[in-house]
């Protein structure tokens, strides 16, 4: 699955192994794989964070991720690209997002991976609500 939302915890490294084992990327053709994993931390904006709810817009979120992936595949000579993201309740230490791209050479891989992450952070319809030691708050905006 090139684009997927995970309501339950997922293992990004196993996901990549399975994607490749399933022929997601053409063996012998790709020479460079760049991957990024965003993981929930137990600390944010000066406060301890106990848990998090990841809200999203069913339908638009998937469409948007597919659109970013398609744009990256178009702008760089990629053999494959993958975007997985958590939704729902997340605990500190849980991976939240996995972006991976496969290409012949490393420049395209690094650039495309970064492009997807930056767009995802700035435009993909997700919203984080943090549970602090006392109370909850919606994260205002992404850095």
């Amino acid at each position: 699955m090139s684009v997927a939302l995970h309501p339950a915890p997922f293992d990004p490294w196993r996901t990549l192994g399975e994607f490749e084992a399933g022929g997601g990327a053409p063996p012998g053709k790709f020479g460079a794989t760049a991957a990024f994993v965003g993981t929930m931390r137990d600390f944010n904006e000066g406060d301890d964070v106990r848990a998090m709810f990841l809200d999203h817009y069913p339908g638009m979120t998937e469409k948007h991720l597919e659109a970013i992936r398609a744009e990256a595949m178009e702008r760089w000579p990629l053999d494959a690209a993958l975007i997985h993201h958590r939704v729902g309740n997340v605990e500190p230490g849980d991976p939240i997002v996995l972006v991976a791209v496969w290409s012949a050479h490393r420049a395209a891989a690094f650039e495309a991976c970064r492009f997807i992450m930056e767009d995802l952070k700035s435009r993909a319809p997700f919203w984080k609500k943090e549970t602090l030691v006392e109370g909850e708050r919606w994260v205002e905006k992404n850095t």
Binding site: G38, Y57, I96, K121, P125, F126, W127
Partner: protein
């Protein structure tokens, strides 16, 4: 004459949904209606400058036209990844 069957499906997400106390509502489509007009009818408060808008699950600006059966969504800046 108002086309009584013409409707607009409105959605609110994240902190906005909590503030307004609802995530979804429908309202009758008025001729020449734009996304901004949908907000004014549905939210009962001025459209905040940072608010993001989508029509049929694609980003639009406040002046985008709205047609029968369109899904119009409003949500605060995204914080995913």
């Amino acid at each position: 004459m108002l086309d009584s069957s013409a409707m607009v499906y409105v959605k609110f997400f994240a902190s906005l949904r909590e503030q307004l106390g609802t995530g979804e509502l429908q309202l009758p489509l008025r001729p020449g209606m734009r996304v901004e007009d949908v907000w004014n009818s549905a939210a009962g408060q001025p459209l905040p400058e940072h608010m993001l808008m989508a029509r049929n699950q694609e980003y639009v600006q406040a002046d985008a036209e709205v047609r029968d059966g369109d899904e119009v969504a409003f949500f605060p800046p995204v914080t995913g990844g």
